[in-house]
């Protein structure tokens, strides 16, 4: 063996090893990637394509161009669903965020029983919305506690789920109940990062509780609040379970949301092309909301 052979032999061995590594890497990724291509990536592309056709199960699709989108713009049901969805989101997100901040501040410091309170407030988050909806339907029914409470407060005593103006606030109550514990937990983690010295210094300088919250605690929570706002907006835009069980979109389409329309068009009337177009519109809207929110965060920094 001549000395000059040594490095080249080593290089060949290295190359063989690298090739083996690559093969193993691919094999390990493959199962997840195939499932992913078939059921996430492929469908996402197909959804864009279907939106331009009149596809329905068992028929050959015809290319319609922008017809579905034109139909959507002329469809009063779509506009009403959009309005309902936006109104639901605009009501749910701020209320839920405010509740999350409030509850996080209340269970922030360690005291006896604090763990139990945190567990209680997180319990609705792990509860199925369908189950919650069955109970809340009773709570809002004419002989349920909500109507009687409202009567006692001097507010309309009627069934909120039966009133076109009150059905959305009723759904907002359930949505907030089901998710404020999530926001609370996220914010709680951030609250641990607020430097204690800073708060103490502010206190010795005579800052009151509100000032300490406004100028020391709140700036620390800001990024987490934006994160929550994005998550909650997306979730609210996609509200379905509660609508399906509690109202079926009624009364008079007052709780008929976008995903509910997508469901009805796709799986009740089998207008899969039109339903896909609604899905694409939904995607564009969530994307726009996410971009706006990202832009706001960027500007704040």
């Amino acid at each position: 063996m001549t000395p000059s052979d040594e490095p080249s032999r080593a290089r060949t061995a290295q190359r063989v090893l690298a090739r083996r590594e690559a093969r193993i890497g691919l094999l390990f990724v493959l199962p997840a990637f195939i499932v992913f291509l078939a059921f996430r990536f492929g469908p996402a592309i197909a959804s864009m394509a279907l939106a331009f056709t009149d596809y329905t199960i068992g028929a050959t699709p015809n290319w319609l161009g922008l017809e579905n989108f034109r139909r959507m713009l002329d469809d009063p049901v779509f506009w009403s669903a959009l309005k309902v969805t936006v109104m639901f989101t605009v009501m749910t997100v701020p209320v839920s965020l405010a509740m999350s901040v409030g509850m996080a501040l209340l269970v922030r410091r360690a005291f006896r029983g604090v763990g139990l309170f945190r567990s209680i407030f997180f319990l609705p988050v792990v509860t199925s919305l369908v189950l919650a909806a069955t109970v809340f339907t009773w709570i809002f029914s004419s002989n349920g506690p909500w109507s009687s409470l409202m009567g006692r407060l001097g507010l309309p005593e009627e069934t909120w789920l039966g009133n076109p103006n009150l059905v959305l606030p009723a759904l907002v109550v359930v949505a907030v109940w089901s998710r404020f514990g999530y926001g609370m937990l996220i914010l709680l983690a951030r609250l641990q990062d607020v430097p204690r010295e800073l708060e103490e210094a502010a206190l010795t300088d005579g800052a009151n509780a509100w000032q300490r919250f406004r100028y020391i605690v709140f700036p620390q929570l800001r990024p987490a609040l934006f994160f929550l706002a994005v998550i909650e907006t997306t979730a609210s835009f996609q509200v379905f379970d509660l609508v399906y069980v509690m109202t079926g979109g009624g009364p008079a389409r007052a709780s008929y949301t976008l995903v509910y329309e997508l469901y009805e068009q796709g799986f009740r009337y089998f207008n899969l092309g039109y339903a896909s177009a609604i899905g694409v519109a939904l995607f564009v809207m969530t994307l726009v909301v996410a971009l706006i929110q990202r832009w706001v965060i960027g500007r704040d920094r």
């Binding site: 059921f39 109970v135 103490e200 998550i231 909650e232 979730a235 379970d241 399906y244 069980v245």
Partner: protein, 280 residues
């Protein structure tokens, strides 16, 4: 001085009382629906009216007898368990494998593949719903377990989290095993998976919870009554004018496993959900 400031950050006596009162009220409001669910499910159908029926006496198991005998509830529970457990195993295995490869192996197309996963986290689930249903329907998967389970195994977030976690494990661990001549698969099962236990537990809890509570996909794929999951079955009871106590008895049966798991492994629930977000 400093010490006084330290103590003063804790609420005053009055503040503590106020905090306690607020927390007590909030807890009662939060727990009330659970209480109502359980108590009303234990009432005879005729007796449900507010507020008398919220008092915990005159209890009867009539609703449970009915829901457990007539309404396929056991079948739905079984379906839900299959849907949740098989999915947990599938997602964990595939995402651990992919995460390991993305974190520790070099192969052509690695970055492109990884970014395909990441990009899809942005796309709402409902956008891909219709084509996914078309694929499953064409393949004959409507009303089958595999049609129900397979599409939900595509979990980009799980792959991402596994890659992050395994990427944080020191390379030396794996090199030492390689020198020992361990085969890749053996190394994966005897080293990678045990090292991933914490993240697998958290992720597994979340996947389980998500499937147990999932509604829209099982609603679409399950056509016949005996392929429904608990959420679909209970929603249908709710809409069929079945008496309230029977519907709520079904809800209690569906809730008990999650509640029991929550009592035991709360930490995993919290971590899993905060890591992965909420559902609409």
């Amino acid at each position: 001085m400093r010490r006084r400031a330290y103590q003063a950050l804790e609420p005053s006596r009055r503040g503590k009382v106020a905090r306690g009162a607020l927390l007590a009220v909030a807890s009662v409001v939060t727990l009330f629906p659970f209480y109502a669910m359980v108590v009303l499910s234990l009432k005879p159908a005729a007796a449900i009216e507010f507020p008398g029926s919220l008092l915990p006496w005159n209890l009867a198991t009539e609703a449970y007898d009915r829901v457990l005998s007539g309404q396929n509830l056991l079948q739905w529970t079984f379906n839900t368990a299959v849907y949740s457990l098989v999915s947990v195993v599938g997602v964990l295995l595939m995402s651990a494998m992919a995460g390991y490869a993305f974190a520790k192996k070099r192969f052509p197309g690695r970055e492109a593949m990884f970014w395909t996963f990441i990009a899809m986290v942005m796309v709402p689930y409902h956008v891909t719903l219709i084509p996914t249903f078309v694929i499953i329907a064409q393949a004959g998967g409507v009303d089958t377990y595999w049609g129900l389970i397979l599409p939900t195994l595509a979990n980009a977030q799980a792959v991402f989290l596994m890659r992050q976690f395994i990427g944080g494990l020191p390379d030396e661990l794996f090199e030492a095993a390689k020198i020992d001549g361990a085969s890749e698969w053996r190394m994966f099962t005897t080293m990678v998976l045990p090292l991933c236990k914490p993240i697998l537990a958290t992720l597994g809890t979340f996947v389980f919870l998500w499937h147990w509570n999932d509604f829209l996909w099982p609603l679409i794929v399950g056509r016949s009554n005996d392929m429904w999951t608990l959420t679909v079955g209970i929603a249908s009871l709710h809409q069929q004018n079945v008496p309230l106590n029977v519907v709520l008895a079904g809800s209690v049966v569906a809730f008990v496993p999650i509640f029991a798991a929550y009592l035991v492994g709360q930490r995993y629930f919290r971590e899993g959900v905060t890591m992965s977000g909420i559902k609409g």
